[in-house]
């Protein structure tokens, strides 16, 4: 099981800049989605007049399927500055990879619970850390893409862009750096020093 929880309203207000397209994933059956809280927050956004569209679907981690289902919303997405994704970390990473030119914001933190973890593609992974870092890393999870799960940038171990641990694995932080550069978000690397919180039952949210 997974639980997704909304980041604090304060954090979300700061993250969601300009016009916003909202994408909700009601996910696999293994996920508990904070529907009431998401609805309330999205109503606030709508009232503020910044929403270009709201679409609720399931299994957004299936990029092929998501591509089809989002076709009718192409115009709403095009006019938005930000895609606000309310899903687990895999969903956010999938959307971020699909829309490299958009600001894709993770609106939830994902927590692990015992039991079946749901059906997700193999290419991306979410550590269910409860303090989603994706808004600082261009939508690429540093915990799963870096073999040391570093959260403050690359180590000196990459050789020819490959990880010191596995020469077949791309350096996760090299990917993050290139992605941030491509989307004009290198400023994210100037964020405060990041230290993980392993006590994830506490209230913690990364921007």
């Amino acid at each position: 099981m997974l639980i997704t929880e909304l980041k604090s309203t304060e954090t979300l207000r700061e993250l969601l800049k300009g016009k916003v397209f909202v994408l909700n994933c009601h996910g696999c059956r293994e996920i508990r989605f904070p529907e009431a809280e998401a609805d309330a927050f999205q109503a606030e956004l709508t009232a503020a007049g910044v929403v270009t569209g709201i679409f609720t679907t399931e299994y957004i981690c299936n990029d092929e399927n998501l591509g089809y289902t989002l076709e009718p919303h192409a115009a709403a997405i095009e006019t938005a500055d930000t895609i606000a994704v309310f899903s687990c970390g895999v969903g956010v990473q999938t959307v971020a990879a699909m829309y490299p030119g958009k600001r894709v914001v993770a609106c939830c933190d994902t927590y692990a619970l015992p039991g079946y973890q749901g059906v997700t593609p193999l290419e991306v992974d979410c550590k269910q850390c409860g303090e989603c870092f994706l808004n600082l890393t261009g939508g690429i999870c540093p915990l799963t893409a870096c073999s040391k799960s570093l959260v403050n940038g690359q180590c000196g171990g990459a050789k020819n862009g490959k990880c010191e641990v596995d020469p077949d694995m791309e350096c996760g932080w090299e990917r993050i750096y290139q992605k941030l550069k491509k989307i004009g978000r290198l400023d994210a690397l100037k964020c405060p020093v990041q230290i993980r919180n392993y006590a994830t039952d506490d209230e913690v949210t990364k921007r």
């Binding site: 073999s147 040391k148 799960s149 570093l150 959260v151 403050n152 940038g153 690359q154 180590c155 000196g156 171990g157 990459a158 050789k159 020819n160 862009g161 010191e164 641990v165 350096c171 932080w173 090299e174 750096y177 550069k181 290198l186 690397l189 100037k190 020093v193 990041q194 230290i195 993980r196 392993y198």
Partner: protein, 292 residues
């Protein structure tokens, strides 16, 4: 003595690296350091380098200090969580070891205990932040330290010849933000690339020590080119080492190559960091030839 005081005085600070053995007899290591490294500013003691288990860095640093040398305590985040690292930093300061070098560390899979748990609770940036926090008189969670807080010369590393040099510079900036006082670099064999890097790195206003390895032979260089991140030995240097095997074996060629790199880079940096890798005995000769 904190080496930051020397940088502040405009001195060209020279350090060299020594690795503790896998055993409890450190007399030889200390004696060798005393014999060959007394002429330089400080001696870096590596921390389970390349993820190979060795005697405690902190204990080795203490012995070096007893012998009259100035140790630099290398601390990696691979083997200890935030409690242990803070505890050891305070322990170092209590022993009068105030020069530290904060590293993330190689992955456990690279060493002789590949099944060990890689910790990485902190990383180089957050470890620098932790050291800065201790200096302000509290631990990481804000609990006050008893009595006078420690004061460190907080070092960090950067890889100037890395093929991800822009990402390295971004990380360097984060290290400065977290409190790094000085930098040591990965080994440099291409002076022009280092100079180019320094043009970009000087914006951070922190002293940088040029990293140098004395190349022992062509095979070692080829090995480093294949396996060591951020190190590239150009072919003409490998050819030079291969041309006269006896001369290379005696260390003459290697020392000449290293001295030339030092001379070329010296105007652009604030110090030198020698990774002698067992050739500590060549350090005095290298210093002489490089004119330091």
């Amino acid at each position: 003595m904190r080496i930051t005081e020397l940088f502040d005085n405009g001195e060209f600070v020279v350090t060299a690296e020594v690795g503790p053995p896998k055993g409890i007899h450190l007399e030889h290591l200390v004696a060798e350091a005393k014999e060959y490294l007394s002429g330089i500013t400080a001696v870096n003691v590596t921390d389970n380098q390349s993820s190979v288990m060795r005697t405690s860095t902190l204990a080795t640093c203490a012995l070096m200090k007893q012998a009259g040398l100035t140790p630099i305590y290398q601390a990696t985040c691979r083997d200890r969580n935030r409690l242990a690292l803070q505890s050891d930093l305070l322990g170092a300061a209590a022993l009068g070891i105030e020069n530290i070098l904060c590293l993330t560390g190689d992955h456990t899979k690279m060493g002789d205990h590949p099944g060990a748990k890689p910790v990485f609770d902190l990383d180089s940036v957050s470890l620098l932040h932790v050291a800065s926090t201790l200096e302000k008189g509290t631990d990481l969670t804000g609990n006050p330290l008893v009595g006078e807080p420690p004061k460190f010369a907080k070092g960090a590393v950067v890889s100037p010849i890395s093929d991800s040099v822009d990402a390295q510079l971004a990380k360097m900036e984060r290290k400065v933000m977290a409190g790094a006082d000085y930098f040591q670099t990965q080994a440099v064999f291409e002076s022009e690339k280092f100079i180019e890097f320094m043009e970009k790195a000087k914006q951070f206003g922190k002293p940088v020590q040029l990293g140098v390895i004395i190349p022992k032979n062509a095979g070692m260089c080829k090995f480093m080119n294949r396996n060591v991140a951020g190190v590239h030995v150009p072919q003409y240097m490998i050819d030079e080492l291969a041309a006269d095997k006896e001369r290379a074996k005696a260390g003459i060629t290697g020392v000449e190559i290293a001295a030339k790199i030092i001379k070329e880079c010296r105007p652009y940096c604030q110090g030198l960091h020698i990774m002698a890798l067992g050739w500590e005995a060549k350090v005095p000769e290298l210093m002489k030839l490089a004119g330091i």
